[in-house]
């Protein structure tokens, strides 16, 4: 863990990798707690289409979440990574999760289940 980080320079939009160095996604958003008598505190990093699209236009984020729910992909809400899970900052940001089991891989699992696994030569 690090004691200090620059949210824009070191974290936002950076590539996140899991403990096995597999891509988790980009740091699509950060959640801060605004405290009255203390500096803001990092609560979580958000990963997922809804968090990313919210930065472009809130309506796009709503549409993305709606699509995910309608198709049964998942809740459509972004996955949250707590600051305690941050392991390393560098070329990528390493976090202590198992990427394929997280919400960040909801679309990957859905596509695999829906058509990729049914095709010959997909690697199964």
């Amino acid at each position: 863990m690090v004691d200090e980080l620059h949210l824009f320079r070191d974290l936002l939009d950076k590539q996140l990798v899991d403990r096995e160095e597999r891509p988790l996604g980009k740091a699509d958003g950060v959640v801060l707690e605004i405290r009255a008598d203390a500096p803001p505190r990092l609560v979580a990093i958000e990963v997922g289409n809804a968090a990313m699209l919210r930065r472009i236009h809130p309506r796009l984020a709503d549409l993305s979440a709606l699509l995910a729910r309608r198709l049964g992909v998942g809740s459509g809400e972004p996955m949250r990574v707590e600051p305690e899970a941050l392991l390393r900052f560098g070329n990528d940001v390493k976090v202590d999760v198992d990427a394929p089991r997280t919400g960040a891989y909801a679309w990957e699992r859905w596509l695999k289940r829906t058509w990729i696994d049914r095709m010959p030569g997909s690697g199964e």
């Binding site: 939009d13 590539q15 891509p23 996604g25 472009i56 695999k112």
Partner: protein, 407 residues
């Protein structure tokens, strides 16, 4: 031998820049209408492309970041959403045009309506991406692409006036009484069809796929020059052949059957099959490259797992994106959308987004966090600034020129 294979990335990249359907038709039109006078536009586009390609490869080799990933990190998603969105549309349109070009090549050989070939061509492209490895696609297409050198050989067979050819490399006004707007339109088309964002992204992604490192910086420089030089030579060959064969007969290139005539004079009965083979390999190779590129840019900008060498079950999102893009292309071509109309539209879109694509080079290629000691020198920065200025100018004039000078 290993270094020779690395040249494959340069050659395959240049095929989608110079030997694809849009570039081939633009060069043939330019030669037929203005003889050698637009050679300078190909030369200028080649120099610009060599610099930008070298920078994309250097970025990947040193920082292990592709261009799309670095732009996301350095500029954020709000900035990237515009060029990314435009590039996804552009890639799909050009992919469609390339499927169409490959179908036209098969039509020339078989006589069967081009639209009937749309699904078989699209399926073959998809199957190669689904089952193939990056090195197979890269080396296979670049080796087969050598057949396009027949355009260069043809020029030597027909023995042009080399003085007139050399004068074509000096930018000049079109002759009195000729269609000035069409001349301007063709010059912008050559630049727009050549300096395409997908080439830059594809090359940087290819460098990561091929596991380039800092040790490959010199190789990258040679591959950029050699690869783009190859494509440029073929493109100039098409223009020159068209100037030598079509211009004296007053033939304007409006159909591919007319463009095919350029190789029948030097090669006789082999001319048409050689033209069709070059067109097919160029377009099919470009279709593979664009299919991969649409998956690359989206995966890299959004941080997904990606790679042509992974099995489809390990990068389902990556495979789904190229599958969807190829399907769209196949449907449009089967429905009768003409590939040349698509290339006109995609060329204008390329020129419009060029400044947004080139500007990040100024920042990222000078950032020590990415390039460490391999940052841009003064010359490279000057070239990027010049391309940026040219890109801004082209973006302003492309729409009026397309209206006034497009055919």
């Amino acid at each position: 031998m290993k270094n020779l294979l690395k040249a494959g990335l340069g050659v395959v990249t240049s095929i989608a820049g110079f030997i694809e359907v849009g570039s081939l038709s633009t060069s043939a039109q330019a030669g037929a209408a203005f003889r050698f006078r637009l050679l300078w536009a190909i030369a200028l586009a080649t120099v610009c492309l060599i610099f930008l390609i070298e920078m994309s490869g250097r970025l990947a080799a040193v920082s292990k970041h592709t261009l799309a990933a670095a732009v996301r990190e350095r500029f954020g998603i709000r900035f990237q959403s515009v060029p990314l969105g435009a590039e996804l549309v552009l890639d799909t349109l050009v992919l469609t045009a390339e499927i169409g070009g490959a179908c036209v090549a098969l039509h020339l050989l078989s006589g069967l309506d081009a639209r009937w070939w749309a699904l078989p061509v699209a399926f073959a492209a998809w199957f190669l991406l689904w089952r193939g490895r990056f090195s197979t696609i890269e080396n296979g297409i670049s080796m087969l692409g050598l057949v396009a050198l027949s355009f260069v050989i043809g020029v030597f067979v027909l023995r042009p006036d080399w003085g007139e050819v050399a004068r074509g490399f000096i930018p000049s006004r079109p002759p009195e009484g000729s269609d000035q707007a069409h001349y301007g339109y063709l010059a912008v088309s050559i630049l727009g069809a050549t300096i395409s964002p997908y080439l830059l992204n594809f090359y940087s992604a290819g460098a990561i796929e091929d596991e380039w490192s800092e040790k490959d910086i010199v190789t990258n420089r040679i591959v950029s020059v050699f690869g783009m030089g190859f494509g440029s030579a073929v493109s100039m060959g098409v223009l020159a052949m068209s100037a030598l064969v079509l211009a004296p007969r007053g033939i304007r290139v409006e159909q591919y059957e007319q463009a095919a005539l350029v190789l029948t004079q030097p090669f006789g009965k082999w001319g048409l099959p050689l033209f069709a083979a070059s067109l097919f390999i160029g377009c099919f190779g470009a279709a593979l490259e664009l299919g991969l590129n649409v998956s690359y840019v989206l995966s890299q900008a959004l941080g997904w797992n990606w790679g042509e060498d992974q099995k489809p079950k390990d990068d389902a999102r990556f495979c789904t994106v190229y599958t969807a893009a190829i399907l769209v292309g196949a449907i449009l071509i089967a429905a009768g959308v003409p590939p040349l109309k698509l290339t006109m539209f995609s060329m204008a879109l390329t020129v419009l987004i060029l400044p947004l694509v080139v500007f990040p080079f100024l920042v990222i290629l000078n950032d020590p966090r990415y390039l460490r000691t391999h940052r841009n020198g003064r010359l490279s920065n000057l070239v990027v600034l010049a391309i940026l200025a040219m890109g801004a100018l082209l973006a302003l004039i492309v729409i009026p020129l397309e209206v006034a000078g497009g055919r």
